[in-house]
Amino acid sequence: MKLDTPKKLACPELLDLAGGRPALLGSRCRACGEVYFPASHGCTRCCATDMEPYRVGSEGTLWSWTIQGFQPKAPYNGGESEADFKPYGVGYVEMPSGVKVESRLSVADPALLAIGMPMILTLQAYRQVPGEEPVYTYAFAPA
């Protein structure tokens, strides 16, 4: 999937957009190999502090999911009115290293979501306010 680079990202430090296909970035403990998303300054597994950057990747499987059925209060800043709010999917996606990444999902229909299904990383304009640049975040879509 080729994506135009969005101008405004909520979390630019989490993503590698080089090559036109987004990938998630995290870190790995040099002592025990534990993988973290987002990048961590220390390892809560073995208590070491020597961490290296780690590419968490773009593909995984759905580990759990829900549908956000009501409009969240602040700090959520989707910017829509309560009447315009549309429920959105949220899940954990298990990545090849085993780490599970919490993410918005591209679909919000329970019939289209099942634990174990393959998922692929994409970008989603979660804030679209007229007269403003849309703001993007990472999201997973059924592969």
Binding site: F37, P38, G69, G91, Y92, G98, V99, P110
Partner: protein
């Protein structure tokens, strides 16, 4: 053990909404009720621990109760605030700091869901801004995964809520006192699937307090003291599935509940099969579902059958949340854990009226769990 500590007085400011009173006033009310129950006065108390999440400092209760100069320690441990205050008072009495101690929790939360700030949790702004920082979402994601792993259907979630409101209707001080039908719960708004509106408790207000002393002296104050056989608090290990986590570890590990529960049973020298009446954290149906097994009362996956069979009802073999739990009482975070202890004391004293567990219960159990991965368990015995 000759070093045991007993509860000699309990006091509650009913949970719910009390617009005319501050959280601290509700906390002070609960302390006065507990002192009255123990037949003592505030000036007899030698040490106090307490806390709230949104209701201010507990030691400010002294301004209501009397400035007697005692050590009054503020506790801030989220959902385990009450449990931590209780464990601290017990340690203080056991170490000889005071003969009589008070544990108090109270709170007053704004209406609607909690709105946490990412920075307070060591998270970046994007996590809150993009709509991932909600406790209801976490409970739903954890429940969904658990039901998948253990082959449990939505029926179990409905039955937990139904029993909570049925018990709440029997409890004079409960906030929600209307029984809800199966259909009403199963058809309520999908808040965060698989969890629906009537499967969640609401943030609320209220106060709860206990008066404790050495078990050796308990009979001086109370005809029916309750012995604290264990009061244990634990925090999470690496790999535990906890709230507000953008990433979960590759290998999952047992929840803090499991650790607190095991330690409490070991300390008390009893097992789950010995417990006659149980309080489990039920911020939502899914949490209670998980906690029934995590506390050792059944195997993972057995809950669906237990619930369908009525085993967790007041007249069942594992009576759970006899006062309607958080679902029927709401959750003032600071007070919630001590409400559970008070309900067990009421049951062990045989004073629970229409909701009394039959057959003179002797051993009771309480469990709280919450952010950011803490749990507190008590095991209580009729004295």
């Amino acid at each position: 053990m000759d070093n045991e500590v007993a509860i000699i007085g309990v006091g509650l400011h009913p949970f719910g909404r009390t617009d005319a009173l501050s959280g601290q006033q509700q906390g002070a009310y609960a302390v006065r009720e507990a002192l009255k129950d123990a037949g003592i006065e505030w000036k007899d108390v030698g040490v106090a621990y307490g806390g709230s999440q949104d209701g201010g400092n507990a030691d400010a209760l002294s301004n209501h109760l009397g400035l007697t100069g005692i050590p009054f320690v503020n506790v801030a441990n989220g959902c385990a605030t009450g449990g931590s205050a209780l464990a601290s008072v017990i340690a203080a009495i056991q170490s000889g700091v005071a003969e009589i101690g008070v544990a108090v929790g109270f709170d007053k939360h704004p209406r609607g869901a909690f709105n946490p700030r990412p920075k307070d949790w060591g998270l970046e702004d994007w996590y809150g801004e993009t709509g991932l920082m909600l406790t209801t979402q976490f409970f739903a994601l954890k429940t969904q995964r658990y039901m998948h792993e253990h082959g449990i259907g939505e029926d179990a979630l409905v039955r937990i809520a139904q029993r909570a409101f049925r018990n709440g209707a029997l409890t004079p001080h409960a906030w929600r006192r209307r029984e809800l039908s199966y259909e009403e719960i199963a058809g309520s708004m999908a808040v965060n699937l698989p969890l629906r509106k009537f499967m969640f408790c609401n943030p609320a207000e209220g106060g709860a307090a206990l008066v404790l002393c050495s078990a050796k002296h308990a009979r001086k104050y109370s005809a029916n003291p309750v012995i604290v056989k264990a009061a244990v608090m634990r925090t999470r290990h690496h790999g535990s599935f906890e709230v507000f986590n953008p990433g979960l570890a590759a290998q999952q590990s047992p929840a803090p509940t499991v650790m607190a529960s095991r330690a409490a049973f070991e300390l008390a020298g009893v097992g789950p099969q010995d417990i006659d009446v149980i309080q489990l954290q039920d911020t939502d149906s899914g949490s209670e579902l998980i906690h029934i097994a995590e506390n050792g009362f059944c195997e993972h996956g057995e809950q669906a059958h237990l619930l369908k069979n009525g085993d967790t009802d007041i007249h069942g073999r594992l009576p759970i949340n006899t006062d309607g739990g958080c679902l029927a009482n709401g959750e003032p975070v600071g007070a919630s854990g001590l409400r559970q202890v008070i309900e067990i004391c009421t049951q062990l004293r045989g004073q629970a009226g229409a909701r009394q567990v039959p057959g003179t219960p002797r051993l009771g159990y309480t469990h709280v769990y919450g952010a950011p991965g803490v749990s507190a368990v008590t095991i209580l015995q009729a004295g």
